[in-house]
Amino acid sequence: MISRRDFLQVSMAASALYGASGFGNWARLAAQQQLTQDQLLQFDTFGNVSLIHITDIHGQLTPLYFREPSINIGVGGNKGAVPHVTGADFRKLYGIKDGSPSHYALSSGDFAALAQGYGRVGGLDRVAMVINAIRADRPDAILLDGGDTWHGSYTCYKTQGQDMVNVMNALKPDAMTFHWEFTLGSDRVAELVEALPFAALGQNIFDAEWDEPTDLFPPYKMFERGGTKIAVIGQAFPYMPIANPRWMFPEYSFGIRDENMAAMVEEVRSQGAECVVVLSHNGFDVDKKMAGVVPGIDVILSGHTHDALPEPVVVGDTIIVPSGSNGKFVSRVDLDIRDGRMMGYRHKLIPIFSDVIAPDPKVAALIKAERAPYLAEMAEVIGRTESTLYRRGNFNGTWDDVICDALLSEREAEIALSPGVRWGPSVIPGQDITREDIFGVTSMTYGEAYRTEMTGEFLKVVLEDVADNIFNPDPYYQQGGDMVRTGGLGYRIDVSKPQGERISNMTLLTSGEPIDAGKSYVVAGWASVNEGTEGPQIWDVVENHIRKLGTVTVQENNSVEVIGV
């Protein structure tokens, strides 16, 4: 019986990300030269099985900037627990020195300055290099893609996911699970999945009509590696038909279905699996709860909520490994599987510093070819920014402020609503804003920017409903994502209250007057889950707005007052 102490000792010994010791001052980094590919990849091969996890790439083929959140509030049992710890508190918790590569990769604070020094992150050609290096150590390492791969960029939108499929296939994954992929529509998803040279997994992907498993998405796949049997069970995003437009994939039903997960764990164990890995798109807090409810899972590779932690979180005998987003990280997890069980592990969250890790030439050429037909239109400069444009955070990000301003002015609205998604790369001060940058934060298959009237009462219902998707104390009722972003509308939120009582002091910012429950307001927004939504595409709205501004400067946004934290 492996004890919790064994786990923790291994964890501490392996302590994750290179650079926990720090590199000193960040001012124009000698640090970058000190940081080498060998250091980033250094790993003492352990046990007999290696897992490689990447998740939530969101269509990002090339290096980018990505600012981590300043505000990520945990509620209920997860109050103050990782990943709900940010900035300086996060660095203190993990012993990460200010200005170090780990600071830049994993936490917020001094982002623009550190971005200047350390440069971009990600790029699937760099990711390929890391995967190659791991496979050089362990040729039969299992590469697992946690989903949200075929969505989120100009080329991904134009090719309906084909660019990502082509490049990922070159990386040779062993299995994948899903979320935003389904917003390509079920026909396109089926077309792409049928042609995949690897397993498309989802124990919770069911036929909606008969509420039974599908042939296209088997629940698990068994692998024989290192003299043992490993089962990988897929867990797709549970709330797709609620968070995304159900009419785009009406044939499918999802849900957490943890009783079926428990049955699958028993099934693979009875077939001789000595190690059970869940490739999950649940989101971190849901994974944490599931690890406590469903026994027999050794490793959960966690996606959806875009969290990156330098070491796994241990729940009972299950380790949970969240691997960030946008191609910024790759996790390597080496396991010692013996005598029917996982005896120990060694883990490293490898940050993909694009200027430090060399691109794999073959994959670099493939990416170039995928982008070539669209390069001219993507690279067009629309404006420039003097502020960091980013999205992550529970309540607002500067990119969302720009998008809401665009909706208010271009659609002549009093109030703007923008979805609290967590994808979208950042742009740093002094950078040009290209059409590709705008697509990076807006690209989707239901991007129509609607203009409608809503009563004050309905606006409150919307805010309360979304708030409960994030701040319900039971993780199983959380959908991931962040609070809907508002333009022209301020409010107070008490995150400790139940649904219906969280939102107060709703104010129309132009007049400073309280929102009147009975009055109608002109509201513009985008990403409606309703079929037949009409309006111009959000990226055109944002492009027109930025073109008129020329240079974007975002003021501090104090329109949301948060209490009860």
Binding site: F254, A262, V293, V421, W423, P473, Y476, G481, Q499, A527
Partner: protein, 140 residues
Amino acid sequence: MKLTRRTLLALGSGTSVYAMVAGLPAFASLTDDAISAFTGGAATGEGAISLTAPEIAENGNTVPISVDAPGAAEITIFADGNPVPNVATFKFGPLSASRSASTRIRLAKTQNVVAVAKMEDGSFQMVKANVKVTIGGCGG
């Protein structure tokens, strides 16, 4: 430990009851009345009945639920937020191989789905699940 479906559901219902207190409707008392009418006011036990329902309904107009109560003679399902709480009653004869049933129900809003089983020995078992009906979020 071998995890049974039943323990899972017990855990599930234990953690979900507080989720939706606000706006719990006047209908709740209708449900209490209906349950009392079904049980004749007898006390209800728990643990021998399980109810499978989604945490959040994908479509409030057709929510798949299933109940399972070995040894039940009759199971009635209530939805405490619907104008008429009685949803369905399933009766099982002595030769019924399994005492389980599945159906789809319409839920007007977030509410509790309650299943009460009358067991062959005349005792009653009850289980509850909170099903959230939402206008939709944003996802990650």
